[in-house]
């Protein structure tokens, strides 16, 4: 986006497709109406945009598509409050505003050649999906693990993609494992023999029996605030360095560009803005900046 443009101006995007993922989450496929803006829109996995419902407000949403696939981008939006509820009412062809991308994103280049352990909880799958497909598309990573925990079978996001990878993943160097807290009768994975990779439980249960080469592995975590502590313990138990553990965090945000102050975390020795210093942080950042997680 051009140089002397107002940071807070948003650009028109057209909704190309709306897809129900779960009763609470929808996947929006979007494209900028202005081809020039569309071409200039470069993002990294882990970055987010600010969605603008003009006349009502703005909210941050992670980009869940991968930059390796061009011409569109996708947002997975949970119906959580006033804006997102409105967004869920929108239809194909509707126009909304977008500004961004913002945030640091995951250091994908730096991690090339390594194993990636993606640990997702609930909606945390959204930003990690971007990483997942980026990694698979680029083929520059050793082995990719996806440990994904949800409440129930019905809450699984991107179910067809997950099913596909459960089935064919290993051929692409990708291991997908799933855990859900409540068993439900409609769960097809149990019937169809995915059982070893699918279990009832929480996401940390999926680590059982998995060993990683800690000198060549990065862990990338995203999920609800309570999840981090348990997952990180699991990783530290395997002596994965805090510098190799990446997390993407959520805070209230208004501007997305380090002005509005809501996402400030830390203490007198270290203050961070989640929006511009993050939303991706290492666990080392968390150790040195209290209150990060």
């Amino acid at each position: 986006m051009s140089e002397n443009e107002n940071t807070f101006q948003t650009h028109d995007v057209r909704i190309l497709e709306v897809k129900d993922l779960t009763p609470r989450e929808k996947l929006f496929t979007l494209r900028f109406t202005d081809p020039e803006v569309s071409r200039g829109f470069k993002y990294k996995p882990g970055q987010f945009v600010i969605v603008d419902i003009r006349g009502f407000g703005e909210f941050p949403i992670s980009i869940c598509s991968t930059p390796t696939r061009e011409g569109y981008f996708q947002l997975c939006v949970r119906k959580a409050g006033r804006m997102t509820r409105y967004m869920h009412e929108l239809k194909e062809g509707d126009i909304i505003g977008i500004r961004g991308p913002y945030g640091n994103g995951f250091p994908m280049d730096m991690m090339e050649g390594s194993n990636l352990v993606l640990v997702a909880g609930g909606l945390g799958m959204a930003p990690l999906r971007s990483v997942l497909w980026y990694a698979l598309d680029s083929g520059k990573y050793e082995h990719i693990y996806l440990f994904y925990g949800t409440k129930s079978y019905e809450d699984i996001l991107f179910r067809d993609e997950i099913t596909h990878l459960l089935k064919h993943g290993e051929a692409m160097n990708c291991t997908v494992k799933l855990a859900y807290e409540v068993e439900s009768p409609s769960c097809i994975y149990l019937e169809k023999g995915y059982a070893p990779k699918v279990c009832k439980g929480v996401v940390t249960d999926l680590f059982r029996g998995e060993e990683f080469d800690i000198t060549n592995t990065y862990a990338l975590i995203c999920g609800p605030p309570v999840m981090y502590k348990f997952v990180i313990k699991e990783l530290l138990d395997r002596r994965l360095s805090p510098g190799r553990i990446y997390m993407t965090l959520e805070r209230r945000m208004r501007c997305g560009v380090g002005k509005c102050g809501h996402c400030i975390v830390g203490t007198s020795t270290s203050i961070k803005y989640v929006c511009k210093d993050g939303p991706v942080f290492t666990y080392w950042d968390a150790l040195s900046t209290r209150g990060l997680i």
């Binding site: 101006q9 805070r251 002005k259």
Partner: protein
Amino acid sequence: MRYVKLPNENFEEFFNSLKNWGNIYAPTKQGKIYSFRKVETLSEVSLDYNRTMLPPKKFFIKPRDEMLKLKDNKWEECIEVEKIVLFGVHSCDIHGLQILDKVYLEEPVDPYYKKRRENSIIVGISCMPDEYCFCKSLGTDFAMSGFDLFLHELPDGWLVRVGSVKGHEIAWANEELFEEITEEDLKNFRAFEEKRAKAFKKKLNKEGLADMLDLAYDSPVWKKYEKICLGCGNCNMVCPTCRCYEVCDRWINAYEAVRERRYDSCFMASHGLVAGGHNFRPTRLDRFRHRYYCKNYFDPEAGFNCVGCGRCDEFCPAKIEHVKVLDEVREALE
């Protein structure tokens, strides 16, 4: 730094000449508080004010600030810029603005702040501390930059420090009003500064302050103040370096809206609330501590986030004293 002297008898003329550079805003007395208001004559100005209630940040990020205007489902920018001369800014507030500069002028630049900053002239003025001031402890009692002109009181006029090209131009345009500095003037200037240095009643011990606070995360002192603090947010609103804002869209007629930001406060429960109802600072204790951590964060490049202006103390209904809280936290740790 360039120094010149403005004799008392030329002061008013100099003041009036500033109108050529923009509308003059200066401290005025409003009831029992001071406020930067637009003034026409020198007689309206309270030169000996201690501090205004709202700091000069109100000119650059307005308490309520219309950013964009919605017309035909498109946002139009609404930046009105006025050329202003901020007359009579104290050193601590100049430091406060510099801290805001770091935030708002860093990429991506806040266009509103930038434009207003570019259209303003800052004329500083020397002051005498009252019982609330502790800027000396933080090193913000003297401004080395961040102003165009800075006036220091002398027995027979003002010692003027010229701090920018713009300041130089202003002095130039009024050449006949200024004189060269004499030895005597410098002596008086130093005497004033000494007298001022002695006048500080409040002192903050900043020895290892940031580390000390970090260690005192679970200090019982926070608990004590959780009970006393009203959570009213007044301290945030008046602070020259507090800058959180909230954004809200507002309909002005059936089909047009404005996007407006307003000062927010980290004492509000919603400040740390995210979707799903999780609150990162759920209690008043968390919020109280957060403010102290934010204000006393030590940035190696810019120093502390607090400039010691004393506003939060003066306007806290619960009479909570910034320095006292920090002293108590330190004491409890030892």
